[in-house]
């Protein structure tokens, strides 16, 4: 009788086998031969050991195993259970398999479906088509990571076998192999087990089997019926690519390279290109004269940026006008081109001395060397490619002697008045025999001198600033005394109006008269415009006539002809002076009680409604209000009010048009006469003053010692050199960097690259290159770094540096606006739209909400309608609390402050400002960056709309707030200090700033905060006078060692020190900010006054 243990081929077998293995029988017979009866039509099997006696069968059955006695009955294998309750078996088809030990006798269990395999082994005969096709398929599936090996030997099949091992094998190939394709067997394993089991099967005692194999150092492949194929544990595997011999069935063609003998003629031509500002103009003598209006309107600083050279050639005399581009200064190209009516020429990127027409580009793009050779750039000072109907023309300028435009100008008495006054007064009392030729005073009528006559003056070189001639005439001391009295009176009155917002008509009238008496018509025109504005309609005839006189209009009062008006109204192109003259004449006609004809006004009104019209806004309103007052047109005046206010809301007042020239002059001159002021302060407004300050600072640095071969010293030199180059002291800058060039090779690779980059910046500042050129320079420097770590070190500083970064790096900081209003939305629907966006549950992100508030308010302000602004504010205010992220809420509040300040709604302003202060106090505030931006915007709005007290209140509240982080606190306080100084609260501002300087230099913060705070303070100091700046920056330089860092790049350079140095030098070399603060202050006052005037005039006409 044969006893056997029946296995069902299910998960339950695991428990049965565990019992068997734990039993004394199992452990005794584990290494003995076993036989296995395998059910062919099912998953069952019976384990039989010839050494198992009957005495052992009973205990196994008692322990719950399905022990059966096997017999063959009628060709079927029948198993009778040893104990009741167990099912027997009866198999029609079966077969026997012998195994040397128990583990190898077990039949693996089939797993349902297609399990994922961690690793698979495809095994096949090497002489079958299987290997080739499998390898081909794997390569087609881009599985070049597969490995192959071959087996021969005792335990392997007789013919040997070829195996392919694949991690994460393709399911398709697993299934194809299982389906029997190409007679490939596939095995899988997990966790690097030495037991590979046929894929989609699992061994019932896999753990024990793996352990057994591990002990003998073997690997086994177990097929679906449990038969093992053993191999050594170490397989000699190869990459799949080593196992294939690729072949390409194709004919061979051999070509060999020879020296090229063909040259193709390619025509270089000009094609439309990106619009860019011109830098150079080639002018005929006549065109040069047309610069006069621009020269009239330019500041000395602006004139200093224009140079002129005189050239001669076959085409006669040509003048070369060039703008020296200065970083940070507004470009003059558009003004020059507009004045001249010619577009000018722009520099070609990569070629320093080649210029082509602005808005054109050279095609095809040539290599720089080819371009140089073709156009002879090496031999020429400047090459300009011009074009006309015949095509391009190359103008080669071998050499040119350029001189500042100022040297080509004859200043006449109306300009540079102060110097002339002094000279005049001195000459009266000290040199009685000398007379001053002052043509303007002697002329009878305000007619302009003939252009040819003045041309001689303009083009005379070198010019005499004041023509002093001896004459036999006796000195008219009375006239001189009268002149001096007029000057003094003018200065007194200017002092009255200089603060802005003067609405006293008598003051403006008197100042206008004085200016007219002094022959300063343009400035007189400003005064009469302001007198008319503040007088309101109907206008006094005398004021209007004086305005016409000052603006050189034709006729006076009622005498102004319709033809003269029509000529100006229908002109295709009007200069700013023409527009101003038209306005003056229209006002004069209205004031004279002889209003212009309706058809003239129908054409004229749109001209003055255009917010871009280059005349003062006050003049535009004077015309519009005067006409609508005459016509009693309430709708018209409402439209005019909205157009004017909308334009002002969006653009503010223009420094060019709305700032009277004497105000600019007075602001520049302010303090010059104060004897107590230091010389440094007097030089504050001048570039020379900046240069002196920077030199003084450099002297301190130099005195402290600059060791050779020291990277830190080199960075100092380079940063100061760039500063000097910015201020025009190029030779000094070159002197500073000369030692660096000598020792360049001894420095670390990244430092070398950065030194070169700073030197390139130096050249860039000098040549006034564009941002694109700089971006290319940086890209070249980075591309030159072969090692990634070096490149990273260079890029680390380049991206952070104020001067080395490119626009793209700065753009990373910016954030595009993502909120868009629905197409075609009317301003009347803004409030409703905003309410919808802000409604709870709208699902909008906070930044979208902030942008929605901002955009809706901007649109409302641009409409000029206070009702619309009020509606939008009413929609916005309740939703502000719904913006959870505080920085975004601050942005939205700032936008609302802008709107509320425009409306003059003090109650709402108070609530909004409280909201802003509450945000600063909140512990949930993540970053102060947006907050400071919001505060700055709020302050600007408050100043513009006359909210000085609320602005002061906000600053005081913010100064007392303790922000959550040190960095936020410093940034906020720097903003507050700048705000104070712009409001004229110098004492508070100084105290705050000194406190910040102390804190930064005391080294109390962490490194990053300290550097950020230092840069914030340096940035804020731009708003201070130079003398205050240099005093503080000396402290910065003395305490430079506190700006440390722990960055990886620290082995090459000290990032924070360099950034602080840049900020210091950049701030010191900035003469614009403070001056523009003062100009802006005046414009803010003016805007506020104009706004009130507009509302008052409108209210009177509309009965509001």
């Amino acid at each position: 009788m044969v006893f056997g243990v029946q296995l069902a081929g299910t998960a339950a077998d695991g428990a049965a086998l565990a019992v068997l293995m734990e039993s004394s029988i199992g452990s005794a017979l584990a290494e003995s031969p076993w036989s296995l009866a395998i059910e062919i039509d099912g998953a069952g099997s019976v384990l039989v050991s010839p050494e198992m006696p009957a005495a052992w069968a009973e205990p196994l059955a008692l322990r719950g195993l399905d022990v059966v006695t096997l017999t063959e009955v009628d060709g079927a294998l029948v198993g009778a259970p040893l104990r009741d309750g167990h099912a027997g078996l009866r198999w029609g088809r079966w077969r026997w398999r012998a195994a040397p030990r128990l583990l190898e006798a077990l039949r693996p269990r089939r797993i349902a479906g297609e399990p994922l395999a961690e690793e698979a082994l495809f095994v096949m005969r090497p002489d079958s088509p299987g290997p080739r096709r499998l390898l081909e398929r794997l390569l087609l599936l881009e599985r070049g990571d597969a490995q192959v090996c071959s087996f021969v030997g005792v335990d392997a099949a007789e013919h040997g076998c070829f195996a392919v091992r694949v991690k994460a094998p393709p399911m398709y190939l697993l299934m194809a192999a299982r389906d029997g394709e190409d007679d490939i067997a596939v095995y899988a394993r997990a966790g690097g087990s030495p037991l590979w089991v046929a894929w989609s099967y699992e061994h019932p005692l896999a753990g024990a089997a793996a352990a057994a194999l591990g002990r003998v150092g073997q690997v086994a492949l177990c097929d679906g019926e449990g038969a093992w194929l053993r191999t050594d544990a170490q397989w000699r595997v190869r990459g799949i690519h080593d196992a294939v011999a690729p072949e390409l069935v194709a004919g061979a063609v051999a070509l060999r390279s020879v020296e090229p003998d063909l040259r193709f003629r390619v025509r270089l031509r000009l094609a439309p290109g990106p619009i860019c500002d011109a830098e150079l103009w080639l002018l005929s003598p006549g065109q040069l004269l047309e610069l006069e209006p621009l020269i009239d309107a330019c500041t000395a600083d602006e004139l200093g940026r224009l140079t002129v050279g005189r050239l001669t050639g076959d085409c006669g005399t040509v003048y070369l006008l060039r703008e020296r581009v200065r970083p940070g200064a507004a470009r003059m190209a558009v003004r020059v081109s507009d004045t001249l009516g010619v577009p000018g020429y722009a520099q070609v990127a990569g070629a320093d001395n080649l210029y082509i027409p602005s808005g054109r580009r050279l095609v095809p793009l040539l290599r720089r060397d080819d371009l140089r050779a073709l156009l002879g750039l090496e031999r020429a000072h400047t090459v300009v490619i011009t074009e006309d109907r015949d095509g391009p023309k190359v103008v080669t300028i071998a050499e040119v002697d350029e001189a500042p435009l100022q040297r080509w100008i004859d200043y006449v008495a109306t300009d540079r008045r102060l110097e002339l006054d002094r000279l005049l007064e001195r000459s009266v009392f000290e040199f009685p025999e000398v007379s001053i030729a002052w043509p303007e005073l002697q002329r009878a009528a305000p007619e302009r001198a003939p252009r040819e006559a003045r041309a001689a003056k303009v083009l005379t070189k070198p010019p005499a600033r004041i023509e002093v001639v001896t004459a036999e005439l006796s000195v008219d001391a009375e006239q001189a005394a009268q002149l001096r009295a007029l000057r003094e009176r003018a200065r007194e009155l200017e002092r009255v109006v200089i603060a802005g917002g003067c609405e006293d008509i008598a003051v403006w009238r008197e100042l206008g008269e004085v200016k007219l008496a002094l022959g300063e018509e343009d400035e007189a025109a400003d005064c009469w415009q302001l007198a008319l504005l503040h007088g309101g309609p109907p206008y006094a005839l005398v004021d209007a006539e004086r305005l016409v006189l000052a603006m050189r209009g034709a006729g006076a009062g009622a005498g102004i002809s319709d033809d003269a008006l029509i000529e100006l109204v229908v002109a295709d192109r009007r200069t700013p002076a023409d527009s101003g003259r038209l306005a003056a004449m229209l006002v004069a006609r209205l004031a004279a009680g002889r209003p212009p004809p309706d058809e003239v006004m129908q054409l004229a009104l749109p001209v003055f409604l255009d917010p871009r019209l280059p005349v003062p806004r006050r003049l535009a309103w004077t015309v519009l209000a005067g006409w609508h007052h005459h016509a009693r047109d309430r709708l018209g005046v409402t439209r005019a009010k909205e157009a004017l206010l909308g334009g002002i809301n969006v653009r503010g007042l223009s420094e060019l048009h709305d700032l009277p020239r004497f105000v600019r002059y007075a602001l520049t001159r302010e303090g010059e006469e104060a004897e107590t002021e230091a010389a440094e302060a007097r030089g504050d407004r001048l570039q020379q003053g900046q240069l002196l300050a920077l030199e003084a600072l450099w002297h301190d640095v130099y005195a402290a010692g600059l060791p050779d071969l020291d990277a830190r010293a080199n960075y100092l030199r380079l940063i100061f050199a760039v500063g000097f180059a910015r201020l025009g002291a190029r030779s000094l800058a070159q002197e500073l960097v000369a030692p660096i060039e000598l020792e360049l090779d001894v420095h670390e690779v990244p430092n070398r690259a950065l030194f070169r980059l700073y030197m390139a910046r130096l050249a860039h500042e000098g040549s006034g290159g564009t941002s694109e050129v700089w971006a290319e320079e940086v890209a070249r420097a980075l591309a030159g770094q072969r090692e990634a770590k070096h490149r990273a070190a260079v890029q680390w500083l380049q991206r952070r540096s104020l001067w080395l970064r490119v626009e793209a790096d700065e753009a990373l900081v910016g954030r595009p606006t993502r909120y868009e209003l629905p197409q075609g939305l009317d301003v009347g629907g803004l409030a409703e739209q905003l309410a919808r966006e802000l409604a709870p549950g709208s699902g909008n992100f906070d930044f979208i909400l902030a942008e929605a508030v901002d955009l809706c308010l901007r649109r409302a302000l641009a409409s000029g309608s206070e009702a619309v602004v009020a509606e939008v504010l009413a929609s916005a205010e309740p939703g502000l609390e719904g913006i959870q992220i505080l920085s975004h809420r601050a942005e939205a509040i700032a936008a609302c402050i802008h709107g509320a300040a425009c409306l003059g709604d003090d109650a709402l302003l108070g609530r909004l400002l409280d909201g802003l202060v509450a945000i600063v106090r909140s512990p949930q505030l993540a970053s102060a960056q947006e907050l400071t931006r919001a505060v700055e915007r709020g302050l600007v709005a408050l100043r513009r709309f006359g909210g000085i007290e609320p602005a002061r209140g906000l600053l005081e509240a913010l100064a007392g707030v303790h922000a959550q982080t040190a960095s936020d606190r410093v940034r906020l306080l720097a903003t507050v200090a700048s705000g104070f100084v712009q409001l004229g609260e110098d004492r508070s501002a100084d105290a705050l700033l000194d406190q910040l300087c102390d804190e930064v230099l005391a080294g109390g913060f962490d490194y990053v905060t300290r550097a950020q705070a230092g840069m914030a303070v340096a940035g804020a100091l731009r708003h201070w006078p130079n003398v205050a700046r240099i005093e503080r920056f000396r402290r910065f330089l003395a305490g430079l060692d506190v700006f440390r860092d722990t960055f990886t790049a620290g082995r090459y350079y000290e990032t924070h020190r360099i950034l602080i140095l840049e900020a210091v030098v950049d701030s010191l070399a900035d003469s614009k900010t403070r001056h523009s603060d003062r100009v802006q202050g005046f414009l803010d006052h003016e805007e506020h006054a104009l706004r009130r005037r507009i509302v008052r005039d409108w209210g009177e006409l509309c009965g509001r």
């Binding site: 096709r133 398929r137 087609l140 599936l141 393709p170 399911m171 398709y172 194809a176």
Partner: protein, 330 residues
């Protein structure tokens, strides 16, 4: 309704006409064979087809020309661009006010989606949930509810287009109803001149008021008969597995299984049970349409269009082509 006996004598002619119709339609497009093959197949199988692609890739033009080529009455064709503000009444018809006064909630469906035979819905995934739910019922059960009562719809072919398939759970059900989705790509890079030539000709036809593609070889009736024949032949054996044994050779069936499994496990493409059954029927329909007999290895190319998400479509397409290349090579 036609019987198998009635259809059998003429099915080969019908098949030939549809194939000729397909060939004729291709002449008016440049490099859109794949899309047209699929559209004709879906028309035969009466399965909805989703065209996914950027604007200007002939999605609408293809459907419009196909419907015009069938010579449909105006009332048999419904086309609408859906937005999130589209209301159900815009596609299902307005509520009948008279009946509403009587307390009945009935839509006037004349000329609307429930009443038409062929429909084209542009930007289908931009519609709101009310419309999507109604469409699901129409696609699944070919009916919609009038006053609480299910009412059969006459819709035979549905084509939909979208620029993108939103990755939102609530839209998965709708996306799954489209067994086949094809990505339409711009062809201008590879067929620059041909595209311009064909475009100019189309404009000329339009200007002259001509529609030469409208003279299609097959009619809507042919498509209906073809579908009826296929339905009857699926059930002809009345024995599970018989159709597969007759028309789907084992190696090809095994190949299909391998590919589906590979897509599911390796590319996480969801092939629902419903989709698998429909795929089988569509593949069978294609095989019968193209060569009138058993499924061939190349017919499994349809599996290239089973992707669900936008990013899946190109991956699945290239993978299926690669795997079929393996099988074909084998």
């Amino acid at each position: 309704m036609w019987t198998l006996e009635q259809l059998e004598p003429e099915i080969d002619d019908i098949r030939a006409r549809i194939v000729q119709h397909r060939r004729g339609l291709k002449e008016y497009f440049v490099a859109r064979d794949e899309e047209i093959d699929l559209a004709i197949l879906c028309a035969c199988a009466q399965e909805p087809l989703l065209l996914v692609g950027p604007p200007g890739t002939a999605k609408s033009d293809l459907v419009v020309k196909l419907t015009e080529s069938l010579g449909l009455e105006t009332s048999d064709y419904f086309e609408y661009m859906l937005t999130k503000f589209t209301e159900p009444s815009e596609i299902l018809g307005p509520i009948d006010i008279q009946l509403l006064k009587e307390g009945r909630y009935v839509r006037r469906t004349r000329g609307m989606l429930p009443d038409c035979k062929v429909a084209f819905l542009d930007e289908i995934f931009k519609s709101n949930s009310a419309i999507l739910n109604t469409l699901l019922t129409i696609l699944n059960e070919r009916k919609f509810y009038q006053d609480g009562q299910p009412t059969p719809v006459g819709l035979v072919m549905l084509f939909a287009a979208t620029n993108d398939i939103p990755d939102q759970t609530e839209l998965e059900a709708m996306a799954d109803r489209f067994i086949l989705k094809i990505e339409t790509r711009p062809v201008k890079d590879r067929h620059f001149a041909e595209l311009i030539d064909a475009g100019v000709m189309n404009e000329a036809y339009r200007a002259a008021g001509q529609k030469p593609w409208a003279r299609g070889a097959a009619t809507l009736s042919d498509f209906l008969k073809f579908k009826r024949f296929m339905d009857l032949s699926f059930g002809a054996s009345r024995e599970p597995g018989r159709d597969r044994e007759m028309w789907f050779p084992r190696p090809v069936f095994a190949e299909m299984r391998r590919i589906v499994r590979a897509l599911e496990t390796e590319d996480k493409v969801m092939v629902s049970d419903r989709k698998l059954v429909k795929l089988y029927k569509v593949i069978r329909t294609q095989a019968f349409l193209n060569h009138g007999g058993a499924v061939q290895h190349a017919d499994l190319g349809l599996l290239a269009y089973v992707g669900n998400r936008r990013d899946e479509l190109p991956v699945v397409a290239s993978k299926v082509k690669a795997l079929l290349g393996l099988g074909a090579g084998g």
